[in-house]
Symmetry: C2
């Protein structure tokens, strides 16, 4: 893994509220110097957590001063009605006063259990403590403190050299269940020191999301807390503009960073033993390609077969056949890690069960579905469905 | 359970092909006397098994003579291309010659593993043997022989007394995974001795399906073999006509019988420990009600929480919030076995975790979701998601 680059204009730290997770750090503060541009995308779920409701208001009403993100893990502060919103607001208000800012300059984020009151005072104390220890280097500390059922930190850095100068991009994310692509599906914070105007930043953010977090799924469930944040501090002094030729390289690095975080989430999916990539090719349009890919990715029978090292192409073909826009499977071919399983609607004539079994045994499985109806393609990353997934999620109130 | 009524005009039996399941009976023959009306509904999956393709042709081209259904368990004869169709045809042809009928008078049905060649000769021998032992009383024997991963037979009878005469309805079904509501989702065979014309029989069949098999789901997966058959032999001499007043009573009994089979399937769902009924009420239209119900029923997080006896209303509310047509959850209330969990979008003010925990512990869980937006409602039956489901389905080629 490449070294983690600090981002000029960004400081961060974490502390413990000593509530749900005991002494483990669970409260993160990120401080941005003034004039940073911030792009936020929130959950598409109609059920929105209190911090999402508050952050959406504050992003519209804040000034161009310094900004602070407050993130707590262990409690989603969702489903708590008006008192949940008051709790989120209180965190913003107290930290803003402590930092000499306005309440609207603070954006709150939460992740964890739904429907329990936030330990507000405890988190406020932890946020203040974290604020007092802000440093530009605390990436690992922050990336660790936001985790819930995750087992690993997800932290990635990229550098784009421009003559004697360079642009850095660093981001971290959390999420291992309730992951699906109605866009953000997790908490993700990505920062760059490039100078990018607001509208371009929003566009780049959308594009990066559509190539990454919108193409992963664990269980098809969407959280009320999903938030993705992309910040451009501008401190490198290097402008990225939509017409300049460097946009292409910058976008490439940004998309790769988002994809890397998305892949880390799938690899750390609840109970997952395998990473499964579903590539749908030669679809008659993008909608069909996407629908087939997600229908396979959400099929419990395909996901359990992969867990059991069973190259059960019948279940894959059955998922293709029930996807929207598929009325004929006689042109469909399926390969698993390169081994042909289905050719034009039925078992490949060269099919060998032992060869198929061997190819499904690896940790990474690529299921390629060729529809032979057109030119469009779509890929999704998902995980297998294991007894551990059931254990983790049936364990009382994870 | 009420006694099983024979249906005049129907004889059945089973035998063993001594193939996949060893000496267990796996080959069923059902013989109908001439002039029976037959209504067939097949899978909506674009991936259709060979017997489905053949049965569809034969139902159109058969005469008004005696009819025979051939059912084999253990092999779906799906994904085998043209040779699969030839195998299914061969079964029809050989049995038709043995019975002195035309090939088109035979309808084949298969259930079991996808993508393996049918043990055609072995099944033909077993069908002939079963044909030679046909009896009007062999209901249990046939209902048992069609099972695959099912652990219990699903066999139900109803009687409708009409003065000194009576109408009987008897049916059996199989199915415990790959169950979902794109209508049929299983093999089901229901017979009545009422005299019902073809168009009314089709209509009654559709109505019964929409109230039963279209409202259950185990894993959201649809099989290429799903078939539902409703037969009216007419042998009771009692006419059921659309304008007569007895249609109401007959339809009620028929729907109840289908619902009883559907419920048996959910109770015997792969690995299931609980039966979960999701009732969505006060929706602004039926589409929204249906969509909310199925989104909850397919949520792995809701299904694992139920398994873990966790009244995790946050996951239920999150599923409601991501359903199509839901843009606001502030009116949504949720009750679990009568205990209020959510009132108007957030945790019920009287919420008691111990009370909620107690109510979720029963074998039957009713999740009532009141949208407070209109008058429409929809109910779905489903099962919990357990480690056993994963074990059964990750076990090599179930």
């Amino acid at each position: 893994m490449a070294a983690i680059q600090n981002i000029e204009g960004v400081e961060l730290s974490s502390s413990s509220s000593n509530s749900r997770y005991g002494k483990r750090d669970d409260s993160v503060v990120i401080k941005l110097q003034s004039k940073a541009n911030i792009s936020c995308k929130f959950t598409s779920n109609a059920f929105q957590a209190a911090p999402v409701i508050i952050a959406k208001k504050h992003i519209l009403n804040g000034g161009n001063k310094e900004k602070i993100f407050l993130i707590n893990a262990g409690n989603a502060n969702a489903g708590n009605g008006k008192s949940g919103e008051l709790d989120a607001l209180k965190c913003c208000k107290e930290v803003s006063e402590f930092a000499g800012l306005n309440t609207e300059d603070i954006l709150p984020f939460s992740t964890g259990v739904i429907g329990e009151p936030l330990s507000t005072e405890e988190h406020i104390a932890a946020f203040k403590k974290a604020y007092s220890s802000l440093k530009p280097t605390n990436w690992r500390k922050a990336a660790k403190a936001v985790l819930t059922t995750d087992t690993k930190i997800k932290l990635v850095s990229k550098t784009l050299v421009k003559g004697k100068k360079s642009i850095n991009i660093t981001g971290f994310a959390k999420g291992s269940g309730m992951i699906r692509p109605d866009f953000a599906t997790l908490l993700s914070f990505v920062f760059t020191d490039a100078d990018i105007n607001q509208s371009l930043l929003d566009r780049l953010h959308n594009e990066a999301l559509s190539e990454s977090f919108e193409r992963i799924t664990v269980d098809g469930d969407t959280s009320p807390n999903d938030s993705s944040v992309l910040v451009a501090t501008g401190k490198s002094g290097i402008k990225v503009r939509s017409k300049a030729k460097e946009i292409k390289n910058f976008k490439k690095e940004l998309v790769q960073l988002f994809q890397s975080l998305a892949q880390d989430i799938i690899r750390d999916a609840e109970g997952a033993k395998k990473e499964i990539e579903i590539r749908v090719e030669k679809a008659r349009n993008n909608t069909v390609a996407r629908d087939v890919a997600f229908t396979i990715a959400h099929s419990p029978l395909v996901k359990t077969a992969m867990y059991g090292n069973d190259a059960n192409w019948g279940r894959i073909l059955a998922a293709v056949g029930r996807a929207d826009g598929i009325s004929d499977i006689s042109k469909v071919s399926i390969k698993l890690n390169g081994t042909p399983l289905v050719t034009r609607g039925s078992r490949d004539p060269r099919h060998s069960e032992s060869k198929a079994s061997k190819s499904v045994k690896s940790k990474k499985v690529v299921i390629k579905v060729i529809l032979n109806e057109g030119k469009d393609s779509f890929s999704v990353l998902t995980s297998d469905l294991t007894e551990d997934y059931v254990l983790i999620n049936s364990d009382y109130r994870s």
